[in-house]
Amino acid sequence: MAQSTLALGVEAVGCAAFDAGIKGAFGYPGTPSTEGFEYVEAMIHAEPEDRLAQWAANEKVAYDLALGVSYAGHRALVTMKHVGLNVAMDAYANSALTGVRGGLVLLVADDPGMHSSQNEQDSRRLAKFAWLPVLEPSTVQECYDFTWRAFELSETLQVPVMVRLVTRLAHCRALMIRREVLAPTGLGLAPKETIQDWVLIPSNARRRYLDLLAKQPRMVEALSSMNRLVAGSGRRGVAVAGMGRAYFQQLALEHPELNAMPRLEVAAYPMDPGLEPAFLAQVDEVFVFEEDYPVLEERLTFQRAGKIHGRLDGSLPRTGELTPRLLKNALGLVTTEGQAASSLDLPIRAPRFCDGCGHVDAYEALQEALRNLGLADARVFGDIGCYTLAAQEPMTAIHAVVEMGASISMAVGAAMAGQTPSVAVIGDSTFGHSGLPALLTAADSGVNVTILILDNRVVGMTGQQPSQALDQVERMVLGMGISEAQLQVLTPLPKQHEANVKALESALGHPGPSVVVFRRECIQSLRRGVLKDHDRELRACVEQVGCTPEVRP
């Protein structure tokens, strides 16, 4: 009998990947994609024979790991959030040319409305950019079913396939009905005669690019059953995709008259170029409901100007999440009058540092050291993690946050432009993610930058996954070319405040690059005992074989 269980949308993708027989799952944490990896990781850890789940140092590494598994002939899943795909873009776009051997599925979770992201880019655009198929589920069950389908498509078309979710679906919990689990099977290594396909030197790449373009009609054909035109009456139609499809479908339950509208339902791209003209021929006016960028809407607008209602003509807000209310308003449906909103002024309850978090102590020491040196106005380049919270009032201890790893390179750039001393603040896992090459350049540049690495030993913000840089930070710093004299390791605790301020003053005073590591475990991970086993093993290792704490057991 088919098993059924409640799952989040992202979890359904992870579960389907397991059931479809993946050999490996890889990813880098990022809301709202994290639980997708964690779900499949837990399944794999429960039955580890033959399978592997591994967080990677960053999304590009994760993607390449998955591509390697595919090359070896097995199915692989790789998960990330939308901005993570920017990091993995080099791998993703070029794997379109190499193609795949074992099925390769990429789960990307977009975050329209920016609930916990720095932008709301739409991954459907990146799939188009790479000339690759993308499936867009609208329910938890579709997350599961589409992921199976994505593996099959990936192997049929021999390209990676993206499954694109948005926050609302990623974090929607509903019933998921599973299929029979497939054991991981292998197709065997990419055959000898295809080796040149994987070697993207220009002569091969030109050929492979033509191959990729030649695959486009096959993609359209393979996906055609996922998009459909539903005939109706009247000359007002709707084009729906993703959550727009889900919201419209439910609205039509409450307002059965909506079922009569001609509909274009889209769940996969690239879509049949004949579909839109056929749809437009049936209607004079179109409402487009899709989540995030106006992808479908733009395509329809190119086909025929006028009476295409969506984000571009102002019928829907240009940015932010779609909601059922927005659909109702656009369609001119009567909305229910509910209770009055409270007239009381409701201040925002902003997220803040946990009580006792070491980041606070580190920032307090930094701010005091800067004041003591007469640099109270110094600009500090921040990065992405819990420590980003310091950008908020009243602390305002960091003055730029752009993307993973930007802190170090921006501080070096600013120092080169004469803004010295220049300060960067980065977390341990962000440092491992993309701070390393930046530090290599910082050390090489010799400019006056002070880099604070706030080492809480885990990826705090996304739920305390173990950091890839765990116990390795000092060696990494030295390995990038920072001298031992310019590396200090401090403990961010109130009782260490004075000493920490002094140490920072000396680092800031040094005319070249210097690094200060503030190490204290995240309170939440301590509370949950995330690193308990790790630390026990580490202690045993130190006692028995005398290996230094710097070396992993």
Partner: protein, 199 residues
């Protein structure tokens, strides 16, 4: 054919109070009662004391939208009074609000408590629960959430037996004592009188 009735529940509170875990209990209980149910949650930085809220929709037909429109929720369960006020406009005219009196006021600009209570008392169907007194009486510091759920459960089409099943499953792993304490809190909430604003 008349349109099916779609029901909505909003749960709100502060990160760390267990809003999402309550939502999951509600979802599972509805599902076991043969209903089609969906839950939506917004978390991300929830561990760090921000506002957290979840929604549960259910019906006897399959649903696809995890979001409830304003003015369409039948029930709002709030673990914190200010976090209740944020979502009052989600309630139907004849919706019910089950809310804890206990403020989490460690934030900038928390309004005077009397104003908060006064605003809550203007909400129709408001059940203000003194969770602090209840927790003291039951000698169980975290009884509040379960007690609110107990009271809220009386508004939902789920039998007492199903609630017990789901709660048991949820707390089983934490030992018999924890489970017993939670069931006790749930029952205490269930026993509270339906007396809007008098509880």
């Amino acid at each position: 054919m008349s349109a099916p009735r779609i029901h909505g529940i909003v749960l709100s509170g502060v990160g760390g109070q267990g809003v999402l875990s309550l939502a999951q209990i509600v979802l599972e209980a509805l599902r076991r009662s043969g209903l089609h149910a969906l839950q939506s949650e917004i978390h991300g930085m929830s561990q760090r004391g921000g506002s957290v809220h979840a929604q549960v929709c259910f019906s006897d037909v399959p649903l696809t939208s995890p979001i409830i429109d304003e003015g369409c929720a039948d029930l709002l369960i709030a673990l914190e009074p200010l976090e209740a006020l944020r979502y009052v406009a989600m309630l139907r005219m004849n919706g019910q609000l089950v809310v804890s009196e206990e403020p989490q006021a460690d934030m900038e600009g928390y309004p005077p408590l009397d104003d908060v209570y006064a605003a809550l008392k203007r909400v129709r169907g408001c059940h203000l629960v003194d969770t602090e007194a209840l927790a003291r009486r039951l000698n169980h510091r975290q009884a509040g959430g379960m007690a609110l759920l107990g009271l809220a459960s009386t508004f939902l089409p789920v039998s007492e037996g199903v609630w017990h099943e789901v709660i048991s499953q949820r707390f089983e792993a934490k030992g018999a004592r924890v489970l017993e304490k939670n069931l006790e809190a749930f029952q205490a909430g269930r026993g509270l009188v339906h007396d809007p604003v008098g509880v």
